[in-house]
């Protein structure tokens, strides 16, 4: 599987990372090397093997449906790039 710079740009867009033409070119070489390494996996037949997502065989704990966290809006918004009237500010998305 070989990538093109267009693939790199598409992946970068999906990842929401802006890349210049030069960066896409440089990234292409390195990503191709990494994907070449990953390709080694295909040599092993894994038919019928159950995927392992986690090392411990545990189930999700449940807790009482009770409020455990207090509102810390001011503290949390004090580190935000842009806020106004208790709201996070982002560029306009609805015309």
């Amino acid at each position: 599987m070989s990538l093109t710079t267009d693939d790199v740009k598409r992946i970068a867009h999906l990842a929401r990372i802006e890349v210049t033409e030069d960066e896409a070119q440089a990234t292409l070489t390195k990503l191709s090397g990494i994907l070449g390494l990953i390709e080694q996996m295909q040599a092993v037949d894994t038919t019928g093997i159950e995927p392992m997502s986690h090392s411990q065989d545990v189930t999700q704990r449940l807790r009482e449906d009770a409020v455990t966290e207090t509102n810390q809006r001011e503290l949390f918004q004090s580190i935000a790039p842009a806020v106004e009237n208790g709201l996070y500010l982002v560029p306009k998305v609805i015309e």
């Binding site: 890349v19 990494i34 990953i38 392992m52 090392s55 411990q56 560029p91």
Partner: protein, 483 residues
């Protein structure tokens, strides 16, 4: 005092030979002198550290001291500490002041330990040399032209240069054990789920685990007593009885069965490192242990498997850095999409971007089965290799890293060469097992670590294995020259 064990420091504090304020100041002075070159710390706050030390002195005076009360500990900058700048080695978080404490930080606070400062690291823990940090590379105190390893490179360099008695690290694919090996320290990655990940900035959540880095196995055991334990705020934290990790330190090793995986002594291992590791194993035989050859046949596959799973998890975890709620935001943009793309292009370094893109690619429509699912299936085979091996032995030994510390810049242009640094450590994370590196000697004048891999929850035995060796060797007490 700078080379004292944690137990010796606690005794000195208890006998009023030194106060915690004096001890903290002594290390802060060393940091001021050495850090401009070594760059092990990214954030210091001597007022906060000394205030904690004064509070510890009050506890000691009241006879309420625990084993770590008043002892300064360097914290990897991946742990959120309330009121401290917490950067994770990234421009993205260069101005982020944590609004809460990680569980690990709370545990050290409750034990009366002093936060000595936040240590440098590879950006978002992605690297094996500490060269991906936004805050610059870290020097290896044993040879300043060389890297300390990574990603917990700042913590490793801080303890190696005796700029801290002990430090915390995190290990996703070897980030405690490899720098411990390269800097001549003891370092332990516990069983997955033993130390809470709450407030520990996420890289690959199914692999990330916090652990201690210090001079000796005994020091590690004392730190584990503080760090380990159930925390309801981490959904993967395991509900287990509290253990005393020092309980088995003095046990004799007679009859211990050591498994030696033939794949860990094959091509790719530096001859000097191999010699040191074999000498260490010979020492274990003298201590009464038996060795048995074992096989971990899927060792080579652990690297490709890791470089699918870890980037996949990272691409998801790091999607939170969008410039909206905290962290860096680009100064200029045209619309929301442009803000996201520019913010992330500016905030992340090259290696982090590469891994996010690899993760995005392997998770993208049409490729999931070929990459992510395949990697998860192979992950099971790798875990089963260990399951088989532990039927024949109690612990597994081998090198922690394929070579000694390499020169800065040597592998930065070749990510794949850098990834091979973790050949002997990654499988342990994939299986969720505990792994440890202890100093075992020197090759070409540089430290070499012996890796000890244990079965699930067998940390106390591994620490026993490390401690017994350190009773008959002095590698763990060696200090670099010129510090």
């Amino acid at each position: 005092m700078i080379n004292a064990s944690l137990k010796e420091l606690a005794a000195a504090l208890a006998s009023k030979q030194i106060s915690s304020v004096e001890l903290t100041q002594l290390f802060l002075d060393r940091i001021v002198r050495l850090n401009p070159e070594i760059n092990a710390y990214v954030t210091l706050d001597s007022d906060k550290s000394l205030a904690q030390a004064a509070a510890a002195d009050a506890l000691i005076a009241q006879g309420k001291a625990g084993p770590l009360t008043g002892i300064p500990v360097a914290q990897k900058d991946i742990f959120c500490a309330k009121g401290w700048r917490t950067t994770c080695g990234s421009k993205m978080l260069a101005n982020f002041t944590a609004p809460y404490d990680a569980h690990i930080i709370s545990q050290f606070d409750a034990a009366g330990a002093v936060n000595l400062g936040k240590t440098n690291m590879d950006e978002f823990a992605m690297g094996s040399s500490n060269e991906t940090s936004f805050f610059g590379k870290v020097q290896n105190p044993w040879d300043r032209a060389r890297v300390p390893g990574g990603s917990s490179g700042g913590s490793a360099a801080a303890v190696a240069a005796r700029m801290a008695p002990a430090a915390t690290g995190t290990d996703t694919g070897g980030s405690i054990r490899q720098p411990a090996s390269l800097c001549g320290l003891s370092g332990l990655k516990p069983t997955y789920g033993v130390c809470s990940r709450y407030g520990m900035i996420a890289f690959a959540s199914s692999l990330d685990q916090a652990g201690p880095m210090a001079k000796s196995a005994e020091d590690l055991a004392l730190m584990m007593n503080v760090m380990a334990g159930f925390d309801s705020r981490d959904s993967t934290s395991l509900q287990r009885e509290k253990e005393d990790y020092t309980r088995d330190l003095a046990k004799p090793l007679a009859g211990l069965r050591i498994g030696l995986p033939k794949e860990y002594f094959a091509e790719g291992l530096d001859a000097g490192v191999a010699k040191v590791v074999e000498e260490a194993i010979a020492q274990y035989r003298k201590l009464g242990a038996e060795t048995v050859e074992i096989s971990l046949p899927n060792t080579q596959l652990s690297i490709p498997v890791y470089y699918v799973l870890a980037p996949a998890e990272a691409s998801s975890n790091l999607s939170r850095y969008d410039g909206v709620r905290y962290g860096h935001r680009a100064a200029e943009y045209t619309d929301l999409m442009d803000m996201y793309c520019k913010t992330r292009a500016e905030g992340f370094g090259a290696e982090v971007k590469r891994r996010i893109m690899v993760g995005t690619y392997v998770l993208s429509a049409g490729y999931y089965d070929a990459y992510y699912l395949k990697a998860q299936q192979l992950r099971r085979l790798i875990a089963q290799d260990f399951e088989q091996a532990f039927r024949q032995c109690d612990v597994i030994m081998g090198p922690a890293a394929p070579g000694t510390a390499f020169k800065a810049g040597e592998k930065t242009d070749d990510p794949v060469a850098m990834y091979l640094e973790d050949l002997y450590t990654i499988a342990v994370n994939l299986a969720g097992l505990p792994g440890m590196s202890v100093p075992a000697g020197f090759a070409n004048g540089l430290p070499v670590g012996l890796q000890v891999i244990g079965n699930y929850f067998d940390e106390a035995r591994m620490l026993n294995v490390g401690h017994a060796y350190q009773q008959v060797t002095d590698w763990h007490t060696r200090m670099p020259e010129g510090i």
